[in-house]
Amino acid sequence: MVVMRSTRRGFMAGTLAGAGALALPRLARAQAERRGGTLVVAADGEPRNLNPALIASNGVFYVASKVIEPLAEMVYGGDGLAPRLATAWEGSADGRSVRLTLREGVTWHDGRPFSSADVAWTAMNAWKPLQNLGRIVFRDLEAVDTPDARTAILRFSRPVPFQLVRNALPALSAVLPRHLYEGTDPNANPANARLVGTGPFRFAEHRPGEFYRLERNPAYWEANRPFLDAIVYRVMPDRGAIAAALEANQIQLAAFSAVPLADLERIGKVPGVKVIPEGYEGITYQLTVEINHRRRELADPRVRRAIAHAIDRDFVVDTIFLGYAKASNGPIPKFDAQFHVADLPGTPFDVRRANALLDEAGFPRGANGTRFALRLLPAPWFEQTRQFGDYLRQALRAVGIDAQVVNNDSAAHTRAVYTTHEFDLAVGSPVYRNDPAISTTILFQGGLPAGVPFSNQYGYDNPAMNAVIDRAAGAVDAAGRTAAYRAFQRIAAEDVPLVNVAEFTFITVARDSVRNVANNPRWATSHWADTWLAE
């Protein structure tokens, strides 16, 4: 059996060696794919709304991406995209239109044929007006023409970079069946709970608090796919129990780091269980320190720079992430070779420099050695965001800043940071969606209204930054647009409106019997049509 056992060292070496053309494991091709079997995987939560055309989030995709397909999916190598429902995509030179060629012979799970009318309806009635991310990217979408059943032409009222539309395809372009949604309120449609799509699996059953069950779609457009008879997502809220269930072979796979990092070394040694760090590059998360510029002290860039210098990124990567992360130098992750600038003027770990900057800014240490006190709100999203909060408190004490940690649950944290601004520093973990305009510029753009979660609620408003963001948004040619985003990274490095500490992806733990795991950069949130179970 030729299963590649991935190690932490292997992960680091692999990702360092192949920044562009990633040398990732093509798992176990030595054995012929086997049809059949039920794959049982752990789910640590149940999304409220399972419709990926309305809610583009990883929790939704984990289940829904097997049922409802996007137009294209990310792949390793090549130009990074592979066809799903669309077989070709082409932008016009003026940025006013994108021509999509759709796949032939595709049917919905209820037997109706899939056509360009479905794409047109979903784009105009779900992505543009309702979807959390689509509202940004498809804001200027004016109409979708359907000259024939296999062609959909997106028409924009203002030039929209084709590069952006292309980068948005994997996460934002899930297509809904028009015949079930037209004339209804999409948010209240019963098909949001019982999904109907074109994907390799049909939605079979959801028992709240227990499981989701998806069944093989025998009429799938790709011949002889999928391999699995069914996928069962068992809702398991306890991470210790997830690890035990893997060992007992009662589940075969746990994605999204459901097994705690601290447990990976032990479970990796259990016979029949493997630890797989690949397959999440396309959904890289960024560990950030969010800074409230409304605080007098924090409005001074020297103070923000000092905070950045106080953080030992290598320590964070090695101790908090146990090596399963990379130090970050700016707002675009290293994985995105398209935009990433490697030689930004960084803020290396330097306590003396941090102290000097704080002195220079006019905040000397008081009698007790403290310059000033801050409220620090670590986001509750991950174990690591909380742990980093504790680390940051200690790191800041070394430079004379007294940070008091305030722990909140999700709702309270969202309210405090993004609506009422009752924080000084916060620890965040935005996900990078493979184009700065989808996920990242919103963290730097000035003048956004209060109450928009995961956006610049920091009081940072630099005209030069806003201008470069606008320039990029209107840049139709890819080269000009890329140049603008490189300039964007340089301004961010100069101003330090927030501190990018590390970038991290998740870990999958699976039984050896599960094959074709992690074979694309969004694997956990992709189709699994080629995943199979060995006997």
Binding site: I136, V232, V235, G240, A241, A245, S410, A411, S455
Partner: protein
């Protein structure tokens, strides 16, 4: 007659209890920072300003607090528990789904604890100070000190991972034939994890009651009448000692009903404890009040049952219309 009066009195007292519980829950959850829309947005990964406003309108959060309470209370008075924003379904349906499994787990754990605890307590209390008593009492203390989540993980490790006898969690074999036996098999480990602490509690309570009873006059009288040792232990010592145990059973009903959140989480049992947790995390007022109301009903019913048992155990109770 005494029984009927008792029931009527208890039910009358339940009405203000329920009202207070509803109001208290509402106020507590309103006071928590963040609302249902914040919780939703955190899970969904954000959205722009219009999206957020639209969401608040859909959840009815654009009205003032008192207005929302008035609407909710009126609906509740008409017997409608409202709609859960977390599940986008009627609260009554969501709760109806969870109650059977919670009650099953609760009854199993109480039965397990009461049977084992009573046996142990009788053995220990029959001869206070003996070697058997000391062994049992020490063991009980140790059991009482084990946190249920840790015991749960330990049980999983032994019985599910190493021995492979029982499922790690859940309440049924997915894709299996199902049935009562299947679910019972799934509930063995959660019952042990949940009930073990109570075994110890019942054992110690019963033993303490019996130790007290040995010194009572009626026991000496019973002996003086020449009753056998067995008759003395059963009739004179154990019977009064059961009273605090039964009271404890009633009190524990509420704790077991809602307090099994830890065990439910470890064993992935979709019960009321987890539902309450999800309701709080999602700032889902209607759902939380529904859960709390269901819990209140269970507690009131359990206490009523306890009162009725007490009436039988102790003829003095309820006699003088007290």
């Amino acid at each position: 007659m005494r029984t009927v009066r008792l029931i009527a009195r208890r039910l009358a007292a339940a009405v203000p209890t329920v009202l207070l519980v509803v109001l208290g829950t509402w106020i507590l959850l309103e006071a928590a920072p963040g609302d249902a829309a914040d919780a939703y947005l955190a899970q969904a990964g954000g959205g722009d300003a219009a999206f957020v406003a639209d969401l608040r309108a859909r959840f009815g959060l654009d009205l003032s607090g008192p207005d929302r309470f008035a609407i909710f209370a009126l609906r509740l008075a008409a017997g409608d528990l409202g709609t859960s924003v977390v599940f986008s379904r009627p609260v009554a349906a969501v709760i109806a789904e969870r109650i059977p499994i919670t009650l099953a787990l609760m009854v199993a754990a109480v039965t397990f604890a009461a049977v084992l605890g009573t046996l142990g307590g009788l053995l220990a209390g029959a001869r206070p100070g003996s070697l058997g008593d000391r062994l049992l009492s020490t063991a009980a203390l140790a059991l009482l000190a084990i946190p249920s989540f840790w015991l749960g993980l330990l049980l999983i490790r032994w019985f599910a991972v190493q021995l492979g006898w029982l499922p790690v969690g859940g309440i049924r074999t997915i894709g299996g034939a199902g049935g009562v036996l299947d679910t019972a098999r799934h509930l063995i480990l959660p019952t042990l994890a949940l009930g073990t602490g109570y075994v110890a509690l019942y054992l110690r309570t019963l033993r303490a009651g019996m130790v007290d009873a040995w010194r009572a006059d009626h026991v000496r009288a019973a002996r003086a009448r020449g009753l056998s040792e067995r008759a003395v232990v059963w009739g004179a010592v154990a019977r009064p000692a059961f009273l605090p145990v039964v009271v404890l059973l009633g009190q524990q009903a509420g704790t077991l009903f809602g307090g099994s959140v830890v065990v439910e989480t470890v064993f992935a049992v979709p019960g009321m404890g987890r539902l309450a947790y999800e309701a709080v995390a999602g700032r889902d007022l209607a759902l939380l009040i529904g859960v709390v109301l269901a819990g209140t009903v269970v507690v009131i019913a359990a206490n009523l049952l306890v009162d009725l048992v007490m009436v039988r155990l102790d003829p003095r109770i309820g006699a003088g219309d007290a």
